[in-house]
């Protein structure tokens, strides 16, 4: 599967720096509360970067800064060596595809219509989709294995199918950067593996927020660990996912088993607190 158009003139194609995004002293405030606090990070080209952290850590807010939705309060955020806010919304849409968790719309669309929306950034004003565009839509739907659901309504799809449909829309955008906000949320393990496998096959710059630390460790090239709007650690998973970091951020004891051959690690959490609580509940009931 290839989502990179040879004819498309994207900003990213003309710049070959190692870092796609560079943030320094980035603050994002809502009213007076500071949601993102003095962030400094780089997102590397053609790598998969995972943003991890507890609920409310600021993962989604950070992702929304990356595609220009959240306008930062101070600091700098550059995209391909240029201030991200110097790009028009259309230019950003031609370079960055985003898959968000969105509430179902009251007005249902079928899968083909929804995926066709991905053509918008590259369609000229007052022009119609060409035969090639239509073929791209069909092929993206085939890539995510939803060909049999081409004219099914989006709202009738399962959670995994909805995610795959949204991913197909992003594929049609033909960008070199893909941002995903918790793409594995609400999915069972098989569908989590399927969707991540699909994302990996794209072979482009990926930034995603993810909750499952074991999957993050295996799937991502680099990780950014966040807590309370700040970056606690960043880098390779072996440097980020340490027992002390996890204890500090998630307030749970964790045991890390390193796999020396793949430099990946397996995390086991201490669930004894849960067990003792369960025991006490059953204990009370029995009494």
């Amino acid at each position: 599967m290839s989502i990179q158009s040879s004819t498309q003139s994207t900003v990213s194609s003309s710049k070959k720096g190692a870092d796609v995004f560079v943030a320094t002293a980035l603050y994002w405030k809502v009213d007076k509360s500071c949601i993102l606090n003095n962030l400094k990070f780089e997102i590397k080209r053609n790598k998969i970067t995972g943003v991890i952290g507890p609920n409310g850590a600021g993962k989604s807010s950070l992702l929304r800064c990356l595609f220009g939705k959240n306008k930062i309060s101070s600091g700098s955020l550059s995209f391909n060596d240029k201030n991200i806010y110097d790009y028009s919304r259309r230019e950003l849409a031609r370079n960055i595809a985003v898959v968000l968790q969105e509430p179902p719309t009251q007005f249902d669309m079928d899968v083909c219509e929804l995926v066709s929306l991905g053509l918008i950034p590259n369609l000229k004003f007052l022009s119609f989709p060409s035969a090639r565009d239509k073929q791209r839509v069909i092929s993206a739907i085939a890539d995510v294995e939803l060909s049999d659901k081409l004219h099914c309504s989006f709202n009738t799809l399962s959670g995994g199918e909805k995610q795959r449909a949204m991913l197909a829309r992003a594929i049609v955008q033909e960008t070199k950067i893909l941002i995903l906000d918790e793409p594995t949320n609400h999915l069972d393990i098989q569908h989590q593996i399927d969707i991540l496998h699909l994302i990996k096959k794209l072979n482009i710059t990926i930034v995603l927020s993810i909750h499952d630390l074991n999957i993050a460790s295996i799937f991502c090239d680099e990780l950014i660990l966040m807590d309370e709007g700040e970056i606690v650690a960043k880098g390779f998973s072996r440097d980020v996912l340490t027992e002390s970091n996890l204890k500090n951020v998630f307030k749970v004891d964790a045991k890390i088993e390193k796999n020396s051959s793949r430099v990946k690690q397996k995390i086991t959490f201490d669930l004894s607190k849960l067990e003792s609580k369960t025991d006490s509940i059953f204990g009370n009931n029995h009494e």
């Binding site: 595609f67 939705k69 849409a93 007005f107 929306l117 918008i120």
Partner: protein, 346 residues
Amino acid sequence: MSRLFALSNRFTLVIFCSTAFLIFSLIFATGRGNVIISFDQVFDSIFVCGSSNLDCGVKLVYQKIVWDIRIPRILMAFLTGAGLSIVGAILQSVTRNPLADPYLFGISSGAALGAVLVISTFSGVIIAGSALSITFGALVGGIFSVVLMLFLAGNASLQVDKLLLSGVAVSFMLGAFTSLVIYYSNPDTASSLLFWIMGSFSNSSWSQLTLPSITLVICLVTFLIYQRWISAIQAGDEGALTLGVPVSSLRLMMLVLSSILTAVLVSQVGGIGFVGLMIPHICRFIVGNQLYKVLLMCVVLGGSFMIWVDVFARSILDEQVLPVGIVTSALGSLFFFVILKTKSNN
């Protein structure tokens, strides 16, 4: 791919049949009224005699009735039905609210207040004379309501829910003023005002068709140009933003255009409710959710629907014309009962 073509062929067939039905409706409705004119005489008046009153085998009085009374009235009904329906479809899409309709933002109340102020201030002079002043008053009132709504919403006008709340507030406020003006009017003026508010095509003339026609065409073309972006908003604001769609400004533009078209129509024919709410839902049921299909279907079906409503309003009582707004409201409530019943059964 073959299935895609099959679906687009289906839409072509549906539009073709609906347009044929619309043409039939236009000709049939021209023959109905206090004076019943046969189908072939209507046909000859329109297509053989033309508007130049030639001796073509149709009585001159029938030609006069067809050209000077019936056709302007029917075209006005068509424009009103088509216009309110496309505005309903657009507002439902850009606000993602299936209950949005052209009157949601207080446009009807504003237009009614404008018309009522003109009628009551100049009393019988205006009613007997030019309808243009009433139209102008209603137009100013309708646009004033939109400006007031945007002003009240302030910065929040970029958020759908706050915009809706502001619109509802304006609607009630202007509605209260309208009632106050009617309350202090003399009985004759009050009855004229009430009849105007309930909607009618009785005073339609060729000269009155110009403004609604031009506004309808401009709005429809603009809606069709931006239909892809509007569809993206329909699927979600944030998603649309990531596709490069200027969500806030596009929504505002659609809102202003919808308001202008509604104000123009309401100023000509009075308040006709439920059409903008009901017809887009029926169109989506027939042709699916793709916006350009819904819009084109709204023009044909909304126009046909209003022509038949007018025929019904003219025919149901002897020597008397029922206000159109009463018929559309009655049908609208029936429509929602049917929807409710169907959904409950499912």
